[in-house]
């Protein structure tokens, strides 16, 4: 294997998106997402792709919609208030079950907030894409390499299930440099041309993007929505069986469990190593897919063996914490270690919280 190269998260992710077949990007620059827009502005031109700097995030997400229907592997990226502006089109993507990839480089706080990393868009993305209660696959990578791995396969998933795929990055992951193995260009399968939403082999070939017995996905007929959404929901339930991703770290003999995702989780690994040196048996469960949520490994935590759970999260009030709490045995004490507004989780505070749980050992 060639030596890994140092790449910033935003740029690495953009290059890998291209190699995964992405040939359309519409976006509007907003810190800390801007390097993605900047990179793809010149790089997409080199591979005969389409780059559009839209007039707003709403327009960018709506262009994404069009590109997706036309069959392009399409991407948009945003942050903070830009995500709010995109929600109208996100619900449209979810309702049409259109394949596209959206990256949110999360920043601190609500409204303007600030420019540092945070995890506070978790609920907004995992609970529903826009209004209407529909979903997409949602991932929360914790390293630059994992961010690249996820986006490399994102369109394969999007096309397999005909669904939007959402990636929750953040300012620190986007700006951070780490060694990455930049993967080769994917050869897209010829069978793509037979997929319902993809532009056909012939220019005149017409396609129907939704095979319901009624009108298309945007019909207002109750029977149609009810029929479609029941089918969608079956798919979401099936994702729990087939698409759950998580990492278990030092869990074999763990008595205390840290549960976190993204940056908060990787920071927790430093605390776990320090605590292990002090003889504290602590491990971690790290959800990588945030929807579907890894319920089973959390359900399986045994109150006879596990003495405490610490949820580490960069959001105040807690968001992810409540999803964890709903899945774990009520007899296991559970606490949260929270930061927000651009402060990253702190190793020494995580250690202190676990030590307190362990009775000051």
């Amino acid at each position: 294997m060639a030596k890994k190269e140092m790449w910033k998260g935003n740029e690495a992710m953009s290059e890998v998106a291209l190699r995964a077949g992405c040939r359309f990007f519409s976006g509007y620059p907003i810190t800390p997402q801007t390097p993605i827009t900047e990179y793809l502005a010149w790089r997409l031109a080199e591979v005969d792709g389409v780059f559009i700097q839209a007039e707003s995030e709403l327009a960018a997400a709506t262009m994404l919609l069009g590109a997706s229907i036309a069959g392009a592997r399409a991407l948009t990226a945003t942050a903070g208030p830009g995500l709010s502006l995109m929600t109208e089109s996100l619900s449209c993507l979810a309702s049409g079950r259109l394949p596209a990839v959206i990256v949110d480089v999360q920043r601190g706080g609500a409204a303007t907030g600030n420019l540092q990393g945070a995890q506070s868009d978790y609920n907004m993305v995992t609970k529903t894409l826009g209004h209407g209660g529909l979903k997409g696959l949602v991932y929360g990578p914790s390293t630059v390499e994992e961010l690249c791995d996820i986006i490399y396969d994102a369109w394969d998933k999007a096309e397999k299930y005909r669904t939007p795929v959402f990636i929750l990055s953040d300012a620190s992951l986007g700006q951070m440099m780490e060694p990455v193995d930049i993967k080769p260009f994917k050869q897209l399968d010829e069978s793509r041309f037979d997929l319902p939403y993809v532009i056909g082999r012939e220019e005149s070939e017409k396609k129907v993007i939704q095979d319901t017995p009624y009108a298309g996905p945007y019909s207002t007929m109750s029977e149609n929505l009810d029929y479609n959404y029941r089918k969608y929901n079956e798919m979401y339930e099936q994702w729990k069986e087939d698409e759950v991703l998580y990492e278990e770290y030092m869990m074999d003999d763990a008595e205390y469990v840290i549960i976190g995702w993204g940056m908060a989780a990787r920071i927790s690994k430093s605390a776990i190593r320090n605590l292990r040196k002090k003889g504290i048996k602590v491990g971690m469960i790290r959800p990588i897919s945030l929807f579907p949520f890894p319920e089973k490994p959390l359900n399986a935590l045994d109150a006879k063996k596990i003495k405490g759970i610490l949820v580490v999260e960069m959001a105040i009030p807690a968001l992810f914490y409540h999803d964890v709490k709903a899945q774990v045995d009520k007899n296991i004490p559970i606490k949260a270690n929270l930061h927000c507004g651009g402060y990253l989780s702190q190793v020494d505070e995580i250690e202190e919280d676990i030590l307190k749980m362990a009775g000051g050992k």
């Binding site: 140092m6 700006q175 951070m176 440099m177 690994k269 190593r273 190793v347």
Partner: protein, 176 residues
């Protein structure tokens, strides 16, 4: 092995370039590496800083409360970060802008970067002098790899390559 570095200076002194070079050199050395720039208001003036970690296993947190090495290029950065060095760690200071640096229990390594850069042939080369001095002192990265990365990343133009080479040698010499 896990080593941490914090680089800080004023915008324009080349702190991010300095940190980026160290990060690439660390990767060249085969270490797991993270580079985290301070992102936000700093980009629009004021102090600029970045943190680097290198290790022989996967890196968790990309930042630390206390660092093995803190490198400060101007007075505001010195004031802000002098207390962030581990006991027995190194505090590298630019004595052209920081007079009488003091810190308990840490090694202070001073160099007048203005003079050194002038000697190398360009005021802008001050970050390259510090790059060489830091890596020559800490020995976390071989000087061969440090120089290779310098040439790979900043060696495209002949006239700069010569200045960088001189600045690098001045930094190495100052470590002895």
């Amino acid at each position: 092995m896990e080593k941490s570095y914090l680089f800080a200076g004023s915008g324009g002194q080349g702190v991010q370039t300095l940190g980026t070079l160290v990060a690439h050199a660390s990767n060249e050395e085969g270490h797991f590496t993270t580079f985290l720039p301070a992102y936000g208001g700093e980009m629009r003036g004021g102090t600029s800083n970045c943190t680097i970690k290198m290790a022989d296993e996967e890196i968790g947190s990309p930042e630390e409360k206390l660092y093995d090495n803190v490198i400060v290029l101007n007075k505001p950065s010195y004031d802000r970060f002098k207390g962030r060095v581990k006991k027995g760690g190194n505090l590298f200071v630019n004595s052209a802008l920081i007079e009488d640096a003091q810190a308990d229990g840490v090694n202070i390594i001073s160099i007048n970067l203005s003079e050194a850069a002038k000697e190398a042939g360009s005021d802008k080369a001050l970050n390259i002098v510090m790059y060489a001095l830091v890596l020559a002192c800490t020995k976390d990265i071989s000087l061969e790899n440090a120089e290779k990365v310098l040439n790979d990343k900043l060696g495209k133009k002949e006239q700069f390559r010569a200045i960088n080479k001189k600045a690098f040698d001045i930094g190495v010499k100052a470590s002895k």
